[in-house]
Symmetry: none
Subunit: 155 residues, 2 copies
Amino acid sequence: MEEKSISDIIEEYLKQILGESSQIEIRRSEIANHFDVVPSQINYVIKTRFTIQHGYLVQSKRGGGGYIRIERVNLLDNVDVLNSLIQVIGDSIRERDAYDIVRTLYDEKVVTRREGDLMLVALSKQTLNVNDCNVEAQLRARILISMLNRLRYES
Amino acid sequence: MEEKSISDIIEEYLKQILGESSQIEIRRSEIANHFDVVPSQINYVIKTRFTIQHGYLVQSKRGGGGYIRIERVNLLDNVDVLNSLIQVIGDSIRERDAYDIVRTLYDEKVVTRREGDLMLVALSKQTLNVNDCNVEAQLRARILISMLNRLRYES
DNA sequence: TAAAATTTGGTCAAGATTAGTCAAGAATAA
DNA sequence: TTATTCTTGACTAATCTTGACCAAATTTTA
């Protein structure tokens, strides 16, 4: 609430720009310079906060005229996006990544908070409570994909 | 009953702040420092006095910019129904019985159609897909109970 | 045109910064 | 006394920050 990390601040900055147009192109060194951090911090922010689980697609190009492009996408509307999301989940997913996906659905108003919470408790480590972490992650993937498919058919 | 423990004092302090806004974010080390106790004492206070049974949700994040967030939620009055259902479930439940319970919740308007559907796919034999039927029934019980516990409060 | 130089972004691992767990011992209540 | 609750700290885990080194694309030079 008070002391945000610089990564949080950069995240907010990028999302604020993304609020105006659904797609932005940035120059890594410029952003890094603007917030007085090393360039690789921008990669960290993107890798942890702008994944497909969060509802973002990222492309980039190196060399002169290079850029990082961030695009906001809807998880369930676009078949390709949903397919890539399911591909990312694969047959196994960590609690944290599942949480990010449900949070995105909530942010996109695809599900209500109550619906999202019901999904979350079914995906939580505490509820699944399986000894083998791999088995747990596989089970979580099956539950999440089933729920996503259920939501897809409805919309 | 005479001498308040330091845990009681910390509890009061946090609840006083929660009286002003329904959600607070604290830094564990700051609170610990303020009351001159070890940081893990804050975990103890939270674990014993800010549970969902008491009407609080807690989330946290480690690392730089880390925090502990405490949110006060409104407990609902149909708790008795949920309690008795949880007792019926026990530590194991068949798919058919789980379906009946969800159906009851839907008929009683405790959950919407969509919420009920999301619950059902997470409880189905096909989704869980566990070899051992007993393990499957136990897992189903944990998921259903977690979901019922989520229905105890309003969002 | 081909090689070299320059200009971008990418990866990874070490160190720093926070919170979580657990169990032993102390204090309090029954 | 005995049981429960509280306090403490050593150890663990997650997240963030930084920088050295790598890779790709473009531009300049031979």
